[in-house]
């Protein structure tokens, strides 16, 4: 099977190169035969890469430890779930996964794109083939072939890194990869529009679902990554501004900016240059993220897959960036706006400032991530840029963005009048001010947390007002009950009201982030029977009594588990069992350093988070770290609500107003958002 896999990779490379050539030449010369061939090349490459994936999975499930990748990332006693996910656990497998998913997305884009965009499709096939061929060439020429064999066959494999043996890691990397990879499709359409000079707004309609899909996958992937970091890594947080985390945030920020600014192009024919730049920039940032993750040029706790292939990505990034920029600048004269902004106080203007902040935050994150390298180049000294730096720079920007999340929907398109603004802002503004006052009276003094919650109240007021007005209008107009009116309001204008649901998720996230300002933590070493106390920000006292330690063998690990009885203000809540795990291979040999498995007791207000550090002198006296993290569950709820909102926006069908626009006659109503 590995021979078949290697042959499939070579076939994919050859077909990919042909697909790229045929796509670009066919598109530029208007040759239908070559365009047709490029389309088939993408399908063929997809088939070849799927064969390679099946071959690698076969080797993984057969425990063919003569294959270096199988020996490096699996063992005989690795649960099936993780044996499957070992496909993308390492550098080589994840490259294969990336190329395969790209070819699948490319095939789907070619099949699903409506016929009237067919002039763009040869170029789309060309770009997809070229990018996928690059990934395959990295595998074949960058010492990253997942089918490479060892000169000997180990009795058992190394096993999977214990930190990757978590359900979060089974879903988080594919989601993030799907987000990164699917950006290539909007990028391919953008390049196609530039090459074909079809730079009206029409091509944006073709990529609307793809951009949303990328954004949704990235959002889910980032949230799952936060959840995995929280439950698995044991440091008691979910976001550490690590370079790899930052790399995933960068394209998310630019994609979110695009999803806002594209509305201006669709409604008013403005910002064509800006939207193209955002799509191209998002794709380049996804490749940049890959470079960061895989090169080791910036140290990161997440870089499981560092190697020299990073430099292939750097070269690709430079070449692709230069070519895209040259093409973009050559088409600038064709990207003139069809309309002008009519007022500074308009939805368009607020979206532009929203874009400024999104790009500003992206720039500051990129700047901070690269600053250690810059510092070394300029002053010969490497510096560390950690959470204190990022929090200091980004929290004020994030709060400004949160304010704009509430302001934008309240301002009318084209031009807003003073009476209109007064009517729109009265309720949300009052909610925001009252939230701040209540929190101040309750004793909250942390400025940023207070601002986050007050602005959260303001944005929530905006969202509720928008839903309430729409539902009330339907109730009066059609006599519908409020629940039905609300449902139909959402169903008939999914893009607008789905967007408001996303905003609600963002509010919840910000409030949850603010909760971490009140985190408390303590360490204790306890003998069986001894207790430690920790006070929660809500004033409760948790008491944790160490009941003892048990040691037992599980499937692929030797477990040392401490049992702690938990009470809150004297009321028993249950037991927590944080663990130390020594993973072993099928022969019982230790494979990695012992890892921690955190004990977490959650409710809607706070998490009690317990880490078993180890034991003293080989006895049951154990060292623990106890942390209270307020509002953590709201991070996961916020993520779920964002995903739900994104799904509603994406759901087929939707707004008749959007259909009107797609049918070629856009009727604009004041305050109507498609």
């Amino acid at each position: 099977m590995t021979l078949l896999g290697t042959l499939a990779l070579w076939l994919a490379l050859l077909v990919g190169v042909w697909g790229a050539l045929a796509g670009f030449v066919g598109g530029l010369n208007g040759r239908a035969d070559l365009a047709h061939s490029a389309r088939h090349a993408v399908f063929a490459m997809c088939g070849a890469l799927l064969v390679a994936v099946v071959s690698l999975e076969w080797a993984l499930f057969q425990h063919d430890f003569n294959v270096e990748y199988v020996a490096a990332y699996t063992s005989r006693n690795l649960p099936i779930f993780y044996t499957w996910s070992a496909l993308y656990a390492g550098q080589k497998g994840s490259l294969l996964f990336w190329a395969t998913v790209l070819s699948v997305f490319g095939s789907l884009a070619l099949v699903l794109t409506p016929r009237h965009h067919r002039e763009l499709l040869p170029y789309v096939a060309g770009v997809v083939s070229l990018v996928a061929a690059f990934f395959v060439s990295v595998m074949l020429f960058g010492h990253a072939n997942p089918f490479q064999r060892l000169p000997y066959t180990p009795l058992d494999g190394n096993g999977l890194n214990p930190q990757l043996q978590n359900p979060g890691m089974v879903f988080h990397p594919p989601m993030l990869y799907l987000g990164y990879i699917s950006i290539t499709i909007p990028f391919a359409f953008a390049i196609a529009a530039l090459l074909s000079r079809r730079l009206d707004t029409d091509w944006l309609v073709a990529i609307r679902k793809w951009t949303l899909l990328s954004w949704l996958f990235l959002s889910i992937g980032i949230c799952l990554g936060m959840w995995w970091a929280y439950v698995e890594l044991g440091w008691g947080g979910y976001w550490a501004w690590d370079p790899v985390e930052n790399a995933s945030l960068l394209p998310w920020l630019t994609m979110t900016a695009f999803l806002h600014s594209v509305m201006i192009q669709e409604k008013r024919g403005m910002l064509k240059k800006w939207n193209l730049a955002l799509i191209i920039g998002s794709w380049l940032l996804s490749i940049f993220g890959t470079f960061i993750t895989r090169s080791g040029v910036i140290s990161s706790v997440h870089s499981f897959t560092q190697s020299s292939v990073g430099y292939f990505f750097l070269a690709f990034l430079i070449v692709a960036g230069t070519a895209s920029f040259a093409l973009y600048t050559s088409r600038l004269p064709l990207l003139a706006a069809e309309a002008r902004l009519e007022s500074m106080v308009s939805r368009e203007a607020s979206f532009l400032f929203n874009n400024l902040l999104f790009i500003g935050i992206a720039f500051s994150v990129l700047w901070g991530t690269l600053f250690p390298i810059l510092s070394e180049l300029v002053q010969g000294t490497k510096v560390t840029v950690g959470p204190p730096f990022f929090n200091q720079v980004n929290i004020p920007l994030g709060l400004a963005l949160l304010a704009l999340t509430g302001i934008g929907p309240l301002i009318a398109w084209r031009r807003a009048s003073i009476p209109n603004l007064q009517r729109q802002f009265a309720v949300p503004g009052t909610v925001g001010v009252f939230t701040a006052l209540i929190l101040l009276v309750a004793g909250m003094r942390d400025f940023y947390a207070l601002m986050a919650m007050a602005l959260g109240g303001f944005v929530a007021g905006t969202v509720v007002q928008e839903f309430a007005r729409g539902a009330r209008a339907r109730h009066r107009q059609y006599g519908e009950g409020y629940a039905l009116a609300l449902g139909r309001l959402l169903a008939r204008n999914r893009r607008r009201y789905g967007g408001y649901i996303v905003h609600t998720g963002i509010v919840i996230l910000f409030v949850a982030f603010a909760g971490m300002a009140f985190k408390t933590e303590t360490e204790a070493s306890l003998r069986p029977g001894e207790s430690a106390s920790i006070k929660s920000p809500y004033g409760w006292t948790y008491r944790l009594t160490h009941l003892g330690i048990s040691q037992y063998d599980a499937l692929n690990r030797q477990v040392t588990a401490a049992t702690l009885e938990v009470t809150r203000d004297g009321k028993r809540l249950g037991v927590l069992t944080p663990e130390k795990r020594q993973h072993v291979d099928g022969l019982g040999r230790p494979t990695f350093q012992p890892s921690s498995e955190v004990g977490i007791r959650s409710d809607l207000r706070e998490d009690l988070y317990v880490v078993l550090g180890g034991v003293v002198n080989g006895t049951e006296q154990a060292v623990f770290r106890f942390t209270i993290n307020p509002l953590v569950w709201w991070v996961w709820y916020g993520g779920m609500i964002i995903a739900l909102g994104g799904l509603i926006v994406m759901w087929p069908g939707g707004s008749p107003a959007a259909k009107r626009s797609q049918a070629g006659y856009a009727v604009r109503l004041v305050g109507e958002d498609r």
């Binding site: 440091w235 070493s525 049951e620």
Partner: protein, 207 residues
């Protein structure tokens, strides 16, 4: 009686030996149970010294009991400003309390505690670490020299871009052609009910 062991050939026992062995085993089990009963209070909460683990190596690196200094808020605040040099990208406090396998952060913690015991203040301790390891030991670069660019370039760039954007938008707004269908009267005249009715009519007429 013959008991056959799988790999080691045959083991011969007569009836007396078998019964003796059986009785001995029974007594052994009873004795061990009694022994366990006697010892078991030791493993009950608060009743005696803690028992030894069967295999302490499985629980990771041996640790020292937590001291008052380990939980000292001042020490923790200092350690949160210092970067652990083990390659984890975490601060010293977070690293040493995360999975407790790192040996670098506990050593750095010991040094912080020692320096504090010598009467050094937080800034002096941090300066001492900077002298020994360079500024890379800090979780954020000090605000001086080129590092100021790190802190202020993003904010300044956003402010500059905001000013430029405002000027451009104002110019656009001034030079914009008069609106053939002004939005303002419609916004003033159109109640939500009217707009919803208009939407309904448009939707009815659309494909």
């Amino acid at each position: 009686m013959t008991v056959t062991r799988r790999h080691d050939g045959e083991l011969h026992l007569n009836r007396r030996a078998f019964l003796t062995l059986g009785a001995g085993s029974f007594l052994g089990v009873v004795a061990s149970w009694r022994h366990a009963t006697l010892q078991s209070p030791d493993s009950l909460p608060g009743t005696g010294p803690s028992g030894r683990l069967w295999d302490p190596a499985r629980a990771g690196r041996p640790l020292e009991p937590v001291t008052i200094a380990d939980n000292d808020a001042g020490i923790r605040a200092i350690e949160k400003q210092l970067h652990c040099t083990c390659g984890c990208n975490l601060d010293v406090y977070t690293c040493r309390t995360t999975d407790f396998t790192c040996t670098v952060s506990p050593a750095m913690h010991e040094q912080v505690v020692d320096l504090a015991a010598q009467g050094m203040t937080g800034p002096q301790i941090i300066d001492q670490f900077v002298r020994e390891h360079g500024v890379a030991i800090l979780m954020a670069p000090p605000k001086r020299g080129f590092n100021l660019a790190g802190y202020f370039v993003p904010s300044l760039a956003i402010i500059a871009a905001g000013v430029v954007l405002t000027l451009v938008l104002r110019r656009w707004a001034r030079t914009a052609a008069p609106d053939p269908v002004p939005a303002r009267p419609l916004a003033a005249a159109g109640t939500p009910e009217e707009l919803e009715r208009l939407r309904g009519e448009l939707d009815r007429l659309s494909v």
